[in-house]
Amino acid sequence: MALERFFRRNRPKRGDDDNSPAGLWMKCDDCSAQIYRKDLVANFYVCPECDHHYRMPAEARIDLLADDGSFQQWSGEIGPEDPLEFVDVEPYPERMARVQQKYSRPDAIMTGAAELDAEPVALVVMDFFFLGGSMGSVVGEEIARTAERAAEGGRSLIAVTASGGARMQEGALSLMQMAKTTVALETLAAKRLPFISVLADPTTGGVTASFATLGDLILAEPRALIGFAGPRVIQQTIKQDLPEGFQRSEFLLRKGMLDDVVARRELKPRLATYIRLLRSRLPEPSPEAVRAAAV
């Protein structure tokens, strides 16, 4: 029974793909209530009946977080190559061309500058609908550039992650993006600029195992699947049922891996508060004071 529930929640969610053809009405994946699709979208993809948080397009995520008219896109100036000439059941460039056209962006990410409750921030938003939000060279490079540009411009960094992990089609170069994004975060740390990571459903693999869990603060959306290995891989490895709620936000909060689980409607004010609390602080000690303390 527990397992059944688990799988029900794991199954791809029909209503959450903004580009999928859907009727005016849909049945909530979680509470089965009939909901008016427009209400769901207006409610930032949260079921008005049961509070179920759907996966959400990157643009809607930016609307949720950026003050009106403040978003200035940085991403989109670079696109993917095919360094491995990767072919599975179809060549990687063909797969990419199709997905790029469908979602009108070069890769699985949007970044840019914005004001968040008047606080200057840089936003990284991953797009799970675009090849599972997988991180290849472009996604890694966009994240690294955004961190560096935020550091230069004195902005806090907010990253909303949704990704299956590193992108297989770019092989070891995808793996290296874990290192690249991590080292780029140093530029923010050097300026004591906050990096807040928001883990959305789902965040797994190489994204969880790199920049996403290196936030000064780590938040998650309710009931998001978050982990290193996916539940299916774990089940195949250990050949046992997984405990109820395993790898969900609330479970990870109890295990001490998150700062908090925050509902989508509360996310923006919460982020603004954190940034304000982290950014007005003691002055840097003067070099004289440091020397004096050392004596």
Partner: protein
């Protein structure tokens, strides 16, 4: 047990052995014939091993008898002193850490350890570490910085362990932290991929100034089997996935993921572990020598730039 494509080599070796014992038994001088066969054996080995497919190299990288982390620590390095425990959760046998020396350098060493037989494999969890293993590695990074000792890491793992406890203890979190901590080392760091470089679980201890790989070792974002299961929906397509993933030493040097290849003795490191380890020791010594005189800030900068620039994108 020879690997499938090693069968002709094995057959010829048996033949030479038989001929030797026959000669000894019968008191015959067959040295000319034996010499001829041995020369043929060398050519055959060279031929087979210079034309391995990527999937065959995966099999060599995983071959039983290939020198493991501990073999290097106990044979190639001197003064090896194992140090245990992560001071938080326990002591992960899949990662062996300690102090050692190599050609006049005192070092901190971290090695992922698969088993050399079934019993050890079970004890070592097949080289798949839990969060505790990465915590132990991070403790060693601290030790290295504090005492200004260069770090050598030896990578050989199918990947970080995907299990319940591992997830509960934050497998992803510790891998990220370990990547970050290693990138901040103020001492020289050299990584050698000696066998299997399995994804994030390998990268966690692979943020070095120089990354060396053995000729038949592999380094990949995902195992060919898992990749095939996802993209081909059939794990038995692993040979195809291995081709697509470009996970061999030669592929990786082209992608600039690794800096140097150590050639293995003909027939693979598992055929002549001593010689393989000697070559690794030589390469390691050269690399450590060349990094020793860099300042901490230069080492940091070089290491960060090395990883910052990896990847291929095009401007739009």
């Amino acid at each position: 047990m020879p690997l499938p494509f090693e069968k002709p080599i094995e057959d010829l070796e048996v033949k030479i052995r038989d001929m030797r014992s026959y000669a000894a038994e019968q008191n015959l001088d067959l040295s000319k014939e034996i010499q001829l066969l041995e020369r043929r054996l060398d050519t055959l080995k060279a031929e087979i091993f210079s034309n391995l497919t990527r999937w065959q190299r995966v099999q060599v990288a995983r071959a039983p008898g290939r020198p493991t982390g501990l073999d290097y620590l106990q044979t190639m390095f001197g003064d090896f002193q194992e140090l245990h425990g992560d001071r938080t959760l326990g002591d992960d046998p899949a990662v062996v850490t300690g102090l050692a020396s190599l050609e006049g350098h005192n070092l901190v060493v971290i090695a992922q350890q698969k088993g050399r037989d079934t019993k050890e494999n079970i004890y070592r969890n097949f080289g798949m570490s839990h969060p505790s293993g990465y915590r132990k590695a991070m403790r060693m990074f601290d030790l290295a910085d504090k005492f200004r000792l260069p770090v050598v890491t030896l990578i050989d793992t199918p990947g970080a362990y995907p299990g319940i406890a591992a997830e509960e203890q934050g497998q992803a979190w510790v891998i990220a932290e370990s990547i970050q901590r290693m990138s901040q080392l103020e001492v020289p760091a050299v990584t050698v991929i000696v066998g299997e470089g399995g994804s994030g679980g390998a990268l966690a201890i692979g943020i070095a100034n120089r990354v060396i790989i053995l000729e038949n070792a592999i380094y990949s974002v995902i195992s060919p089997e898992s990749c095939a299961a996802i993209l081909w929906r059939d794990a038995s397509e692993a040979p195809k996935a291995a081709e697509s993933l470009r996970l061999t030493a030669r592929d990786l040097i082209e992608l600039e993921v690794v800096d140097r290849i150590v050639e293995e003795p003909v027939g693979g490191a598992h055929k002549d572990p001593e010689e393989a380890m000697r070559r690794v020791g030589e390469a390691l010594t050269e690399e450590i020598d060349s990094l020793t005189y860099l300042t901490p800030s230069k080492l940091l900068e070089q290491r960060r730039n090395r990883f910052r620039k990896l990847g291929q994108v095009r401007s739009i």
